[in-house]
């Protein structure tokens, strides 16, 4: 790890003053469960580390008329255990509870979870976010069993946050602030597929802090289904988060978002369309799963993920259908 200056601000304003206009100068430190590894591997070599854990304004979960506000410093454990979140957004609550391990859930924060860097092994071994060699990504012909099946490049890593798909499906808003003032982006446009090596995979600017997320109010059924190989310390192979607006027994409208299949949570309008106007049965859920992966483009080693995505969508829909709101 490279030596760095350490800032310990108590307010958002103080913290913002320590950030810089360019990536690489300063890094925000929240739970540190990702940043420390990035620094140890020299993937991040900030001159300044800005600890935000003392900023009270970034804490807490509140239920308001507009919805549920979740502060950036809320830990994954708090998120998983919060009753309001459980009641209004089961898909998010379950996703948080499934992140391993108890130690990580107690340290890791919601803000850090959304801003964590991809786990792509080319990136983590220093080949860059797009793993380019001679103007071409190495991923399609390389070791790609855990990589993207949607998006078509040039980025093939998968978005690492398992909260991401749930937030996109719920239509959450993400609030950011810089010295110039606050702004709000829908979760769906917070995650982006970088087109070149110098861009980031999230809409956050280097001089900004993520302050909170807001889950819009409204009665929905939601579910997250995850395929994880191990019961311990493992990443999902694929997830699916769904949100259903029901009209009686029939789906009025739906959101179907898959995780770990693309550089961003992958919102499948095809799957949502397939289930709209129908009651959820094994057959309709299966059809929606098929629709969700109809345009998947697997790489040389990850065709199995297409099956996993189809099954995850089906099972998430069936689970959401069982829910009472």
């Amino acid at each position: 790890m490279q030596s760095f200056a350490y800032g310990n601000p108590a307010t958002i304003q103080e913290a913002l003053a320590l950030l810089a206009a360019k990536w690489g100068e300063a890094d925000v430190l929240a739970g540190g469960t990702d940043l420390i590894s990035l620094m140890k591997e020299h993937l991040h070599t900030p001159k300044r580390v800005v600890n935000i854990k003392n900023i009270k304004e970034l804490e807490g979960i509140q239920k308001t008329d507009a919805g549920i506000r979740i502060g950036a410093l809320v830990t994954l454990d708090e998120l998983a255990k919060n009753a309001d979140v459980k009641a209004a957004a089961k898909s998010l609550s379950d996703a948080a509870a499934a992140i391993p391990s108890a130690q990580i859930r107690h340290m890791a924060t919601v803000g850090g979870n959304l801003c964590q860097r991809p786990r792509c092994w080319y990136y983590r071994q220093g080949f860059g976010l797009l793993a380019m060699k001679d103007g071409k990504s190495m991923v399609p012909d390389g070791a790609n069993q855990y990589h993207a099946i949607f998006g078509g490049g040039p980025a093939y890593f998968v978005s690492p946050s398992s909260l991401g798909a749930a937030l996109v499906a719920l239509g959450a808003k993400i609030k950011l602030v810089s010295a110039k003032g606050p702004r709000e982006v829908p979760a769906a446009s917070f995650f982006v597929a970088p087109q070149d090596e110098t861009s980031r995979e999230i809409a956050l600017h280097p001089d900004e802090i993520l302050t909170e997320i807001v889950i819009p109010a409204g009665a929905v059924r939601s579910a997250t289904y995850e395929v994880r190989q191990r019961e311990v310390l493992d990443w999902p192979l694929v997830t699916a988060s769904v949100v259903l607006h029901m009209r009686g027994n029939v789906v009025a409208s739906a959101k179907v978002v898959m995780g770990y299949v693309a550089p961003q949570p992958w919102d499948s309008a095809e799957a949502a369309k397939a289930i709209a106007g129908k009651a959820i049965t094994a057959e309709t859920a299966e059809a929606a799963g098929k629709a969700a992966v109809a345009s998947a483009q697997p790489l040389s080693q990850n065709a199995y993920k297409v099956t996993l995505a189809r099954v995850a969508v089906k099972r998430a829909l069936l689970e959401a259908a069982k829910q009472k709101v």
């Binding site: 790890m1 490279q2 020299h42 786990r119 092994w121 080319y122 071994q125 080949f127 060699k133 190495m138 012909d141 390389g142 070791a143 069993q145 855990y146 395929v227 190989q229 191990r230 019961e231 311990v232 310390l233 493992d234 990443w235 192979l237 080693q301 990850n302 065709a303 199995y304 099956t307 996993l308 099954v311």
Partner: protein
């Protein structure tokens, strides 16, 4: 020899301390974090070493410049391991090392070493033999009987392709040591499976007499076959220490290097044909196998495994050299591969002829060296796994989640190694037992103490034990499941020898002949008239002030005197559920029937089997070294994508130790390795049984299972 004392074990029903389930003596220390492993050691002026390793899979160093690193504040020694001109054969191979006052400085310093490489072509994946071309070396063909004719005449022939990948060692404590080289004296604290032999292996490299190398180790955080030799890092650490003016240097591999440098379990792939009769009788075996354990190629698994006497066989094997780290013994080297290839092929033959595999394994037991033993165990394993109730013919199930049962077999030696113990009895009655051995966590401390207490008629707390020091009487290498047999036998002999001396001192006071005495329940007494007795302490007083009894006893491999022997057998059954939509495999229950000899401590013996099964299930479901053809790197040299099982992934384990008197009479037999052998075999067979097709490649991951179910095994 006329006067050979009777060293034999007390009869099963007369044992007071042996055979009892004592907990590990060092358990509380370990659980409380008080036990200091070598990697925990901190010493005054200790320096930390870090390695610079090769970023390419195959390259020649054209220049190396350590100037900037040497000038760094805190850097005390820099050692170039691979000079300009040296060809490096794998990603992660050692290039240079630095010793500095802190770990941080050492890690920063290695980044300042400038190395220029000429990158050369690499080859890293041996799974497809056709691509190996000139990198494969064929071993000579071996033929017995007339396999051609037997296959032609057979009523049924099954064909299969199977693969078990390279997996890496994952000791919790990585490889390394703390080492100090001052003048012609070396002091070392290694993490090793062979305390006694460590100095002798290192000495020629340092050109220091082995007698000048002192070795001490209290605890080791896992070995599993990977920590016999001092390793290159011991020499590197010693040279750094010498360069730094004789300060102690702590040199331990980091996790990535740990999975790349110190050795792995080689892969094995095979195309196997089994021919036989419709009733399941096997008549012929033909295998074309290939394997790799790194640049030096890979070993040949002994085939057909356990069923060694199949009459007509043809064996071909190719060893493939890849640009990857070397192999090392891994808990029963070559046996897991052999068991996987053999048991998979037998299960596939059983499915082909439509006979219950339990019947096929049993019917062909005549081909094994110990037919009755295996038949007994098959029956026991069937009973404990509820085979007759739960097993369904392959492919007969429907539904998303399907249950399957599968069999794996093992065979191992496990006779005691050569080693020597010394028992010292002091006039105050205190007892010291010494041997330069090591306790790998298996319970060596505990069983040696039990044997000594049993032999001397004392309680566990009355024996003081010293191990882990090369100035003590020689211990053996803890490998091949040889420690328990060796250490227990030598302890028994030195105890009996010491007692003989004590009896000589005490006999006059009891007006008896020394050979008429016995030591029981803290007394020394006359065998024929047990009322004539004195306390242990009173007897020891007769040694006389200033005197002591110190007697050695050695286990001789050629003549273990019935105290230990080799030859263990085991049968295991995996019971799994496979979600055919996601390819996820869960273990419901795992049954292990293991033959063993005399059991000194049933708790520790069972614990060996639990450990073996946990490790084996991890390999069967998760573990795999993933090599990237493009960069030539191991992509998962971490604990994140090199997946190890956690306790929730294991399912129920049912252990049946075969403690019948026939087995007790065979003396002590090592148990570390045999139960670890057949797990990939059993799990792979259970998966095939559940889903109706063979998943050829381990591990049983969603990727491999779905690729098979969806026809992508090209």
């Amino acid at each position: 020899m006329a006067n050979t004392p009777d060293y034999s074990w007390p009869p099963m029903d007369a044992r007071k301390i042996m055979g009892k389930p004592y907990k590990r003596l060092d358990g509380p220390q370990k659980a409380a974090g008080r036990a200091k492993y070598t990697s925990d050691l901190k010493m005054k002026d200790m320096l930390f070493a870090a390695y610079l390793t090769c970023p390419h899979a195959h390259a020649r160093i054209t220049s190396i410049d350590t100037g900037a690193a040497e000038k760094m504040n805190g850097v005390q020694a820099v050692l170039v391991i691979a000079e300009a001109g040296k060809e490096l054969q794998w990603h992660g191979q050692e290039v240079a090392a630095v010793a500095a006052t802190t770990e941080e400085v050492a890690r920063e310093a290695i980044l300042k070493i400038k190395v220029a490489y000429e990158v050369l072509p690499h080859f890293v994946n041996e799974a497809d033999l056709a691509k190996a071309a000139s990198r494969g070396k064929a071993a000579g063909e071996k033929v017995t009987g007339d396999p051609e004719k037997a296959i032609q005449d057979a009523e049924a022939v099954s064909d299969g392709v199977y693969g078990i990948p390279v997996i890496t060692h994952c000791c919790l404590e990585p490889h390394g040591c703390v080492i100090q080289w001052q003048g012609d004296q070396v002091m070392a604290w290694p993490s090793t499976q062979f305390v006694t032999g460590w100095a002798g292996t290192l000495a020629p490299n340092l050109k220091v007499p082995a007698a000048n190398i002192k070795v001490k180790m209290d605890y080791i955080g896992g070995g599993f076959g990977s920590k016999f030799s001092p390793g290159a890092w011991a020499e590197v650490g010693a040279r750094l220490s010498q360069k730094a003016g004789g300060k102690p240097v702590k040199i331990f591999l980091d996790r990535a290097s740990e999975q790349q440098i110190p050795g792995n379990r080689p892969s094995a792939f095979g195309k196997i044909k089994i021919a036989g009769k419709k009733d399941g009788t096997i008549t012929a075996w033909q295998s074309d196998t290939w394997a790799s354990g790194g640049f030096a190629g890979g070993g040949q698994p002994p085939l057909p495994y356990v069923y060694t006497n199949i009459p007509n066989t043809r064996l071909n094997h190719v060893s493939v050299s890849v640009n990857a780290g070397p192999s090392q013994a891994w808990r029963a080297p070559n046996n897991q591969q052999a068991s996987y290839l053999t048991c998979s092929a037998i299960e596939d033959f059983a499915a082909k002829v439509g006979v219950d595999p339990m019947v096929v394994f049993d019917k062909n037991a005549g081909y094994t060296p110990r037919a009755e033993q295996y038949q007994y165990q098959l029956k026991k394993a069937a009973e404990l796994s509820e085979w007759s109730k739960l097993w369904k013919p392959r492919g007969s199930q429907t539904g998303a989640v399907r249950r399957g049962l599968g069999i794996g077999v093992n065979a191992w030696g496990g006779a005691g190694h050569a080693c020597e113990a010394r028992t010292t009895i002091n006039p105050d009655g205190s007892v010291l037992l010494e041997m330069g051995t090591q306790d790998l966590g298996t319970g060596t401390r505990t069983i040696m103490t039990q044997v000594a207490a049993e032999t001397l008629g004392l309680q566990m707390g009355q024996i003081k034990l010293a191990i882990g020091d090369n100035s003590l009487p020689p211990g053996g290498a803890s490998g091949g499941s040889t420690t328990v047999g060796g250490a227990s036998s030598a302890t028994r002999k030195s105890g009996i020898n010491a007692l003989a001396k004590l009896f000589e001192a005490a006999a006059p006071a009891l007006s008896a002949q020394p050979e008429d005495l016995e030591a029981v329940d803290g007394t020394v007494r006359v065998k024929s008239d047990t009322k004539k007795s004195m306390s242990w302490v009173a007897a020891c007083k007769k040694i006389g002030p200033g005197g002591k009894i110190s007697e050695t006893g050695a286990n001789e491999q050629r003549n273990p005197m019935g105290l230990n022997s080799g030859g263990a057998a085991g049968v295991q059954v995996a019971d799994v559920s496979v979600d055919t939509e996601t390819g996820l495999v869960k273990i419901n229950r795992y049954v292990a029937v293991q033959d063993c000899g005399l059991i000194i401590n049933p708790r520790l013996a069972e614990s060996q089997i639990y450990g073996a099964i946990i490790m084996g299930i991890s390999t069967a479901l998760f573990e795999e070294r993933i090599m990237d053809n493009l960069t030539g790197r191991m992509m998962n040299s971490d604990m994140e994508f090199y997946k190890l099982a956690g306790i929730k992934d294991i399912g129920d384990i049912v252990v049946h130790l075969d403690i019948r008197e026939v087995n007790d009479k065979r003396g002590v037999i090592g148990l570390g390795e045999p139960p670890a052998i057949g797990i990939c075999a059993a799990v792979g067979n259970a998966v095939a049984n559940a889903i109706g097709v063979r998943v050829p490649n381990m591990p049983m991951s969603p990727m491999h299972v779905l690729n098979t179910l969806e026809g992508r095994n090209a």
